[in-house]
């Protein structure tokens, strides 16, 4: 116990001595948590559009008005021909072209039918899909207004109608930030904890100080604990600061019990730091440790479920995602913060993360040889 105490004191002194590091460990997550969730927004606004109106009729004008007043679209260009509009898209000044053919109004009234062309810049497939569906629904809206103008609706519904009401639980305002902030916080805690541990032991190797530790009567587990505990504390500090920011900046208050999050975080950090240590025991230089961590961090982040739901992934990727400790924490974080899930609800995740914790740390202790 006394040995451990001295080891811990040494680690803390080393960390606190490096003022630049401390500042970065605290400042980077804070700044990023304030900025980044605002960037994550799939809701499309201000889509730049170009209009090619060959009709110049009352209806075409009404339709264009509907587009510009919808809030989704911003008229950045009016072209005479489709070709001109294409050039505008090429120059990135518009992402959507709506072409209204000549005789649009006449055809609609006389022939009961008319056609409008929507052309989208589809390099970003998802965004273009959304903007086309917005455009479509605006046209549909306009269409039903036209119908109401010309057809008197009968009193009794002639056709069967199924009314669908949609209720959005847990985030009724559909605020995307509620979804992103807990996830980004998990990533930041993960980055800090993992990177620090991964290069720590290697630094001792590189500096040669590990030999001194090796010849001392310190036991393996004491050494590992001495390395783990300081970073475990830092991880929890970053998490707590993150909660402060989510409350102050985003007004997010966990619906569930915050202590449950800390309980999960405690075990999660043990697992994560264990993995960091494992990387550390494998690597020979800090550079190497860093590249290996970079590799795992990228894969962990991409398969964490933050940017794309895990259930949409193909089988092999889902298996990888289930082997990714980060995905469990993001899951639990969202469950507790947004849905107010209780202890029994997160029990499966808790069990799995505990297995990770035991597994990684056992491997790390096993793999750390006291010989160089």
């Amino acid at each position: 116990m006394r040995t451990l105490f001295f080891l811990l004191r040494k680690e803390f002194l080393q960390i606190l001595r490096n003022k630049l590091m401390i500042r970065m460990i605290i400042a980077l997550p804070v700044v990023q948590l304030i900025i980044l969730p605002n960037a994550a927004n799939y809701e499309m606004k201000n889509i730049n559009m170009s209009i090619v109106d060959h009709d110049h009729s009352e209806y075409s004008r009404q339709l264009i008005n509907k587009f510009t007043s919808s809030g989704y679209f911003q008229l950045t260009d009016v072209s005479e021909t489709y070709k001109d509009a294409l050039v505008v898209v090429e120059e990135d000044k518009a992402d959507l072209i709506v072409e209204i053919p000549q005789g649009f109004e006449r055809d609609l009234i006389r022939d009961n039918k008319s056609k409008i062309m929507i052309v989208a810049n589809a390099i970003n497939g998802q965004a273009s899909g959304l903007s086309v569906s917005y455009a479509n629904s605006i046209i549909q809206d306009f269409n039903s207004e036209v119908r109401v103008e010309w057809i008197k609706p009968p009193r009794v519904n002639p056709q069967p109608i199924i009314e669908i009401t949609t209720r959005n639980w847990f985030n009724p305002k559909m605020n995307y930030k509620y979804f992103m902030v807990p996830g980004v916080l998990v990533l930041l805690v993960t980055l800090v904890g993992f990177l620090l541990t991964a290069i720590n032991i290697v630094k001792e190797k590189e500096d040669g100080t590990i030999e001194q530790l090796n010849v001392s009567p310190i036991k393996k587990y004491q050494f590992i604990l001495g390395k783990l505990i300081p970073f475990w504390i830092i991880g929890n500090i970053v998490l707590s600061i993150g909660f402060g920011i989510s409350y102050i900046v985003y007004g997010i208050v966990p619906v569930g019990n915050p202590l449950l999050i800390y309980l999960f975080a405690a075990i999660y950090l043990i697992a994560l730091l264990g993995f960091g240590l494992l990387v550390s025991t494998f690597a020979e230089t800090q550079q190497q440790a860093m590249f290996i961590s970079y590799f795992f961090m990228t894969v962990f982040i991409l398969l964490s479920g933050l940017f794309a739901p895990i259930e949409n992934m193909p089988g092999w990727a889902r298996i990888l995602a289930y082997m990714n400790p980060v995905s469990y924490f993001i899951d639990v974080m969202r469950m507790i913060v947004l849905k107010g899930s209780g202890f029994t609800d997160i029990l499966p995740n808790l069990g799995i993360i505990s297995l990770f914790a035991i597994g990684f740390n056992t491997l790390a202790i096993f793999n750390y040889k006291k010989t160089v």
């Binding site: 980044l36 039918k113 056609k115 052309v119 989208a120 109608i161």
Partner: protein, 368 residues
């Protein structure tokens, strides 16, 4: 010149000796691209849902079997009362619940109007919207069949055309994105670390008292990483062509030119980082933590910049990856020429010079 060559050779030995790092440096772009190409899809598949059928009649059975047979949904459980809904969500396994009111078919046949409710897990608003739309579409289909597909009068039809990427493949935006991210991160990280390492071990002093000019020392450190980055670009382009089927529409030479300039920009950023830090740990925290998430999230790669709040749109301008990604999309996918992209190119060149000038100013020939 001969000195420079010997130096570059030394750096190459350093890099090549470390097999594990090499593996990561050359393998990561491949892994990342494959994950992005195949795993990160926004297509919805096999989403777990729950159904509460208070009516249990022919109409509800019909709708349920339509939902079941779609690829979007897996019915994970059938509920028997309203109280169970919340619990089904809280255990986290279902994303959507459908509630049919009692006498569903009865009302539909006799009053021509009936109701159902969709409850979504809106903690992910994006997914919630998509799923609710899918259910509505399935129900609308059913309704239309009941109406025997009568065509409505005064109909505006729309014809939709998707430019550049008619199949709406995600790879069209992820290939340029991965290029922008990998090149910046690897180059900045590698250079900053390897320069700081010399400082930390103390060999920098030896180099500085040698008759070599500091600029030569730095250049020779940077060139090997420049070559590694080029290899990465080639791998990425090969994968995008042969695995994803995205050929280069524009000029290959132009694409190479902008890529080389972008790599130089990233290396310059790495040099700048190395001048402000004194330990490998610090250099790593800055280049990994400081660059990774901002580049992913603000470069327009994961989220469209036009949707961001104004202040973030302004901040996104300082991220070199943003400009590079725009150029790669223009040249590689749209196939347009230098004339349309010279502004972006100028911005990258400007950033590069800024990083270099600042590094030279901060570079200390004397160590404390």
């Amino acid at each position: 010149m001969k000195q420079l060559l010997t130096f570059i050779k030394k750096e190459f030995y350093h890099i090549l000796r470390d097999r594990r790092s090499m593996l990561v440096l050359l393998g990561l772009p491949i892994v990342q691209l494959l994950i992005f190409g195949f795993a990160i899809t926004t297509e919805t598949r096999n989403c777990n849902i729950a159904i509460l059928d208070n009516s249990k009649d022919e109409a509800t059975q019909n709708i349920i079997s339509r939902i079941e047979s779609s690829t979007y949904f897996d019915i994970e459980r059938t509920l028997s009362s309203n109280d169970q809904i919340e619990n089904a969500f809280k255990t986290g396994r279902i994303k959507l619940a459908i509630v049919f009111q009692s006498n569903f078919q009865n009302d539909l046949l006799h009053t021509n109007k009936t109701q159902m409710q969709i409850i979504t897990d809106a903690s992910d608003p994006n997914q919630a919207n998509t799923l609710a739309n899918y259910v509505s579409a399935i129900v609308k289909d059913y309704q239309q069949e009941l109406n025997q597909n009568k065509e409505l009068p005064y109909t505006i039809n729309t014809e939709i055309r998707m430019l550049y990427n008619p199949q709406l493949k995600g790879e069209y935006s992820s290939v340029p994105g991965v290029m922008g991210m990998i090149l910046l991160l690897i180059s900045a990280m590698m250079t900053s670390i390897s320069i700081v390492k010399e400082k930390e071990i103390g060999t920098m002093e030896v180099l500085l008292v040698s008759p070599m000019k500091p600029s030569i020392v730095i250049i020779s450190k940077v060139i090997p990483y420049f070559i590694v980055s080029l290899i990465n670009v080639i791998t990425i382009l090969l994968i995008s062509n042969f695995v994803f089927g995205i050929p280069i529409q524009g000029s290959f030479i132009l694409l190479s030119l902008i890529t080389v300039i972008y790599i130089i920009c990233s290396l310059a950023l790495g040099i700048l980082i190395s001048t402000v830090t004194s330990s490998q740990q610090a250099a790593m925290i800055i280049s990994l933590m400081g660059l990774m998430l901002p580049v992913v999230m603000l470069s327009g790669y994961a989220f469209p910049i036009a949707n961001m709040p104004l202040i973030l749109q302004i901040i996104s301008n300082v991220i070199p990856a943003k400009w590079y990604i725009i150029m790669v999309k223009d040249v590689m996918i749209k196939g347009i020429g230098l004339f349309e992209i010279w502004q972006e190119l100028l911005i990258i060149i400007g950033m590069t010079s800024f990083f270099l000038v600042l590094s030279i100013k901060r570079f200390k020939v004397r160590l404390q």
